[in-house]
Amino acid sequence: MEVDILELSDRSAKFVLSKVGMAFANGIRRAMVADVPTLAIEYVNLYDNTSVLYDEQLALRLSLIPLVTDLETYMPQAECTVCGGEGCPACELSLTLSSEGPAVVHSGDLISSDPLVQAADANIPIVELKKGQKLVLEAIAHMGYGRDSVKWQAGIACGYKNVPIVSVENCDACGHCAAECPKSIILVEESGAMVPEEDLLKCSLCRLCEKVCDINAIKVSFDENAFVFTMESDGSYTARDLILNASDVVKGKAEGLISILDQL
């Protein structure tokens, strides 16, 4: 397996994963979307709400706010080894919010009982309070998996495509393919059409160039064992940590399978 990182920032990453099968690539993608646990608000205790939003709408908005998660400290409640699923500091976290209008309540106004866990973005508007309106609540956050609800989904727009291979033979440099290419990555020189190496990954494998070529000189294919991965994080983990955690999840599942097979 080889990994070639193209772009890596706090919230997003793009990399080429090569010398692995499609099943493995898809395993990593699915783990990023569904199997990395994150913290999200699960219960809301409302003391007062005179805002324009219903209590349920408010709870939904709160639950969708990504919280910066420490995978070491918290665990999903059903798997909690400390309390066995009844609720304890190892599997739940309380956040409080108290505000009076006129004001816009932002996610940064949530006061967490654990200073390490904060809203990933402090400027998410929750509700606009007019004069005299009031909002007092306590929110309980749990760890959970993306497969159960979007609020626990850490990976956003995780996807991959095969690394494209564009080959040109006996080209008459007519230029039709260059005009047709939606990504405008085909260059036509005297010797014929070609795709510069730095632009090759932009190819979307649409094969419009193949169709428009009268003499079948251009061929688009792909490498079955190399993938261009793009992924984003919602902020609960950095992009780097999310990929690592997803890999750990896949590894843990594989080890679980081995131990089951050993017992047979």
């Binding site: 324009v52 908005r61 706010i65 508007p125 606009e128 956003i156 984003e232």
Partner: protein, 62 residues
């Protein structure tokens, strides 16, 4: 209030609403503002483009 996340992909978009609104009201082109804010996918772009703020309409009726 604008939805916290994009309906389709789940990206948090509501934190860009204030800046988007301010700049579009200031006469800037919507496409340019969205590009500046790093909202590249069309699923996320429609969230901001199609949003209608109703808080001011509803607030007198409490």
């Amino acid at each position: 209030m604008i939805s916290v996340r994009c309906f389709s992909c789940g990206k948090v978009i509501s934190n860009h609403w204030d800046e988007y609104k301010r700049r579009v009201d200031g006469g800037e082109d919507k496409a340019v503002v969205l590009d500046d804010l790093g909202i590249t996918r069309y699923c996320c772009r429609r969230m901001l483009l199609s949003h209608v703020e109703l808080v001011d309409v509803l607030s007198p009726y409490q």
